[in-house]
Amino acid sequence: MADKQKLVIIGNGMAPGRMLEYLFEIDADAYDITIFNAEPRVNYNRLMLSPVLSGEKAYEDIITHDDKWYEDNAVTLHKSAPVSEIDRVRKIVTSENGLTADYDKLVIATGSNPFIIPLPGHDLDGVLTYRDLDDVECMIEVAQKKGRAVVIGGGLLGLEAAAGLRMQGMDVTVLHLMPTLMERQLDPAAGYLLKNAFDDLGIDVITEASTKQILGHDGEVVGVELEDGTRIDACMVVMAVGIRPSADLAKEAGLETGRGIIVSDDMRTSDPDVFSLGECAEHRGMCYGLVAPLYDMAKVIARQLVGDAAAAYTGSVTATKLKVTGIDLYSAGDFAEADDREEIVLRDAAAGVYKRLALKDDKIIGAVLYGDTADGPWFFDMLKKETDVSEMRETLIFGQAYQGGAALDPSAAVAALPDDAEICGCNGICKGTITNAIQSKGLTGLDDVRAHTKASASCGTCTGLVEQLLGLTLGDAYNPSAVSAMCGCTELGHSEVRRLIKAKELKSIPAVMQELEWTTSCGCAKCRPALNYYLVCDWPDEYADDYQSRFINERVHANIQKDGTYSVVPRMWGGMTSSFELRAIADVVDKFEIPAVKVTGGQRIDMLGIKKEDLPSVWKDLGEAGFVSGQAYAKGLRTVKTCVGTDWCRFGTQDSTGLGIELEKFMWGSWTPAKLKMAVSGCPRNCSEATCKDIGIICVDSGYEIHFAGAAGLDIKGTEILGNVKTEAEVKEHVVALAQMYREQGWYLERIYKWAKRIGVDEIRRQIMDDKAMREAYFERFVFSQKFAQVDPWSERVSGKDKHEFKPMATLSLEAAE
């Protein structure tokens, strides 16, 4: 133990993180490791900052190594500890906050700093950079003010920042000094397409824009003035004009530096015990700002650290992908025009596709793809390997699928990729790693691959490739469309299980598991809630609801939050409320010191952050004011959103509020396969957004249009029209029958739009609109079921039901533990 070598790492970005992963793969015990991190946090995936800025992901989603990882690998991580000095004689590093560590080997990975143009006003509040999570958090905070942001710099980072701020609801102007965007990675044609795409996103792009000064008032940014006199009002200016390797610390320590810290092929600096990698390193005159070269460097250092003197880094060719939702852009290599070069161009204006290859001596030296980037990795692979393409010149630009006379089989393209071809760019996972994991670990589906390799687990753009690899590796054994079993406890699918529950009259979970030969003794967290729902739905009068098979939210009738507290949403029928109700809610909020109150998208009020012990008392007070549970936690009827209809609106054609309230009062309490959200709009202007709901009604002069199967969550989908009816009574009969049909046939957690897609909209119309007897039978079964379902779960619990849920069983004093 005592003679274990000490490794100190300065910086905790992606490059050293990857280096440690490689090192632990080779020899987990080689070093005692200490990391100094200037940022106050663990290692996260910097490539994913753009989705964090745009709100598509949270910080937690992009963590690469959590605290536990450092603990498990016995790595000491000093957070918020920028290093101030390296003493190479005594081999000690010291941080600004006075921590020291001595080393046998040192790795400097200080990364880079954003370049700030020293314009007048660059030090005003509201002038930000886009480098790390702190920057993103600042940007999100300022973005709450809405208003306009100006992004200076139309390169990769600047454009990603602009798109993210736009998604945060800001108006955005991009100022770019050059005539076209991303001119280092794109040719003018692709730059033009990109500018159009940004116009479509509602982002103003001004090229050849030279900024004169940033305007301020009371120390805060209020706008930007260009050299030509144009003034743009803005509350935020983001500088994204480039990065500068952070080499000062190394320079002060007497290491050889140029633009960055100079390293040779073995990744050692001018001091053989000091390595450097990442954006701060300069190798053969190049400094890299992209992730692939950093990973290559990381691999070399890991091998050098365990004594493999032959490990060498020889430079990288890099490819770029823009991470803006809806824009496909890929660029690699060099594509400047020159006499000794040829080019192949493919344009498809209608499809918005532009592809260009630059060739020299029958080899690809550059590729720009816009609109269709599927062949990017294939071109890039040939570029890196300097493959002679003369044989396939004629069809090269059409992509890999057109080569070798083979049919247009996309999986052939994937099959042809070499094992070291990168599939998942976010996590740096190669084809070989994925196929090996599939074979050695017996993986059978996408989720398995994600769990074991992390491929396709971040942004998901490589999901198709991973699925093809599954197909290629498993052959016929991989069948993504096969009837998938409910869970690992049975081979039966949901439909078979539902059918057999009826046919064999199975009326309890143990009966289902016994008769249908479940392979586990008491099921799992996937099948138990499903079976419980099927039994509640099919045998409403006979089945005793099994609370231990319900997800916690349905067990305690509130929504669990990330910190283990709960949120409570009382029903507000049709979204209508009163001063009395609002006063009662305000009193409850004060009395229980509820930290957050929010108006929901379903027209009601959510009280968040309630301690579990307090739930029954909260419900008691709400109940006394006449409130019942809003079932905001249920796979069941949630809300019926309404507009004010003929009561108030000058355009209203029917009493949409009254109809919504009537439907909600009729249907509340019913369990459904997945949540069921409804809306009633008083006219086709559709203020209650009925056309993206599970079931929606649009009132028209002549009656009512019934819609269903909309979605506005993970998927966005307009509704289908079920049909038109004339009276409120008919609306009720049709809507209730439709809900019952879905209740009887849907798979657990299957939203109505997915069920409709599986069953067929025409078949649903036939049963509900055309077949009167069938419709009436569905309606009757729903009404029967409601007799047992319409019990307010909150008042039940106020009266003492499930008391054990809300109280600790015992409290042990600490003395008992001594």
Partner: protein, 108 residues
């Protein structure tokens, strides 16, 4: 050594916990979840998922495991270890039944 010196504290009786359910014990600053399986065995884990500290006591209990309510990690009731491809471990405590009584090991 620990095992010989173990001190046991009575925390309740088995019928306090529904079968395939859990109850919490406040233990100083810590919350301990006590689980009862369908075959009436009891287990005790710190009420914190190794993933993101989700309250395991609120999960669904099945086949000697509990599924965390926040992100569906499956944790072994016996060892506290994450199952499947996930890696992590939550602290487990000695616990035993003496007739109807549940006794929790609170250290030696």
């Amino acid at each position: 050594m620990n095992a010989m010196m173990q001190t046991w504290a009575k925390i309740g009786v088995i019928s306090d916990i529904p079968a395939r359910g859990a109850r919490c014990i406040k233990f100083g600053e810590m919350t301990v979840a006590v689980f009862r399986t369908s075959d009436d065995r009891v287990f005790a884990l710190e009420d914190k998922c190794p993933h993101k500290n989700g309250p395991l006591s609120q999960g669904i209990i099945h086949d000697g495991c509990v599924t965390c309510p926040l992100h569906n990690w499956v944790i072994s009731l016996e060892t506290g270890k994450a199952q499947g491809a996930d890696e992590g471990e939550t602290k487990s405590f000695p616990i035993k039944l003496d007739g109807e009584d549940i006794l929790l090991g609170v250290g030696g």
